[in-house]
Assembly symmetry: C2
Homo-oligomer: 192 residues x 2
């Protein structure tokens, strides 16, 4: 998505450790008009795919998921991050390590909101090491549902997790893929 690449190049900030901050429009302040364009793009990509529910993870995935859902006329479920102390019986759960925060958390989804009938589109803001995606995929699997694919705003292509999932047959659609980054520049993958 050219408009997203341009916005990252213009407004994103690069920090040591291959971190690109887009908190001015994506995950702290949200440019909702722009986010609706992202949502429309995702809805177009998954048109006719049979998806009936979006699964995302708090907090940064929620805005993108809601915008996509508004075009797809389907509900959103967001997984909650839990303190890992005691996981209740009435939830599906998975362990997820955070690339940015260097911590591991349990994520949970109530059994009431996910079932074996569900055809799921997983949405998140970033794909780095793929840990959140794998956790969300595990939760859908526990529910007996089907993952129809994933949609990501920004993929760090150089970390390889997105391509690994694609090679395993998972549909992963990223709107901008960063193939290289340095302290001063970002190189995006050419999208055919």
């Amino acid at each position: 998505m050219k408009a997203l690449e341009e916005k990252i190049a213009r407004e994103g900030k690069i920090f040591p450790g291959n971190i690109v901050k887009v908190s001015g429009f994506l995950n702290h302040m949200i440019d909702v008009q722009f986010m609706m364009q992202i949502g429309k793009e995702i809805a177009d990509l998954y048109e006719g795919s049979g998806v009936n529910k979006i699964l995302t993870i708090e907090s940064s995935g929620i805005a993108i998921a809601v915008c996509a859902a508004s075009y797809m006329n389907i509900p959103v479920v967001f997984a909650k991050k839990s303190k890992s102390i005691n996981i209740a019986n009435d939830v599906y759960s998975a362990k997820v390590a955070s690339f940015t925060h260097k911590t591991t958390k349990d994520i949970i989804v109530s059994k009431e909101v996910l079932s074996k009938e569900d055809k799921i589109l997983i949405i998140d803001d970033f794909l780095a090491e793929g840990n959140a995606l794998k956790g969300l995929m595990s939760i859908v699997e526990q529910a007996g549902g089907e993952v129809k694919g994933c949609a990501i705003a920004i993929e760090k292509g150089f970390q390889g997790a997105g391509d690994k999932l694609r090679n395993e047959g998972v549909r992963v659609e990223s709107l901008a893929i960063i193939d290289e980054m340095s302290d001063s520049s970002i190189k995006f993958r050419e999208v055919v």
Copy 2:
């Protein structure tokens, strides 16, 4: 908002301790079509008020805020809950006690996304003891901005915090106000 009262009565679940769970459509699974109606209602209430930015708090406020913002053509900022360990210099912060979780957390907003030029609409899913609202109002004050008002999906009127804020001159618009609840029933305030 009659449609919200009916949805709470139909799909909400009452738990001991005056807790009403609406995780089937508001804050775990999100009925996005319905949430867009809530957003439209909020946009109508604040039309012409001069609001230029919405402030909410992760995670449950984000979906409502994004839906309202999509009608108001303004950005959303969501405050993040922090671990209270060390608050950086580049953020505004406030302490917020949670009614549901019986904990106190710091909430933070980057100084980059809030300024003295901002006319803020604060949005949240629930208003119980008013602690989140007060924390968000404090953050706007620290930034030198102006709170034009608050919009809440569900207010627990019997806890009094909403009316107290109104008596202090704060504009608080709640789409459904619960004035009484028991183990089996919910009574809503008549809205003129």
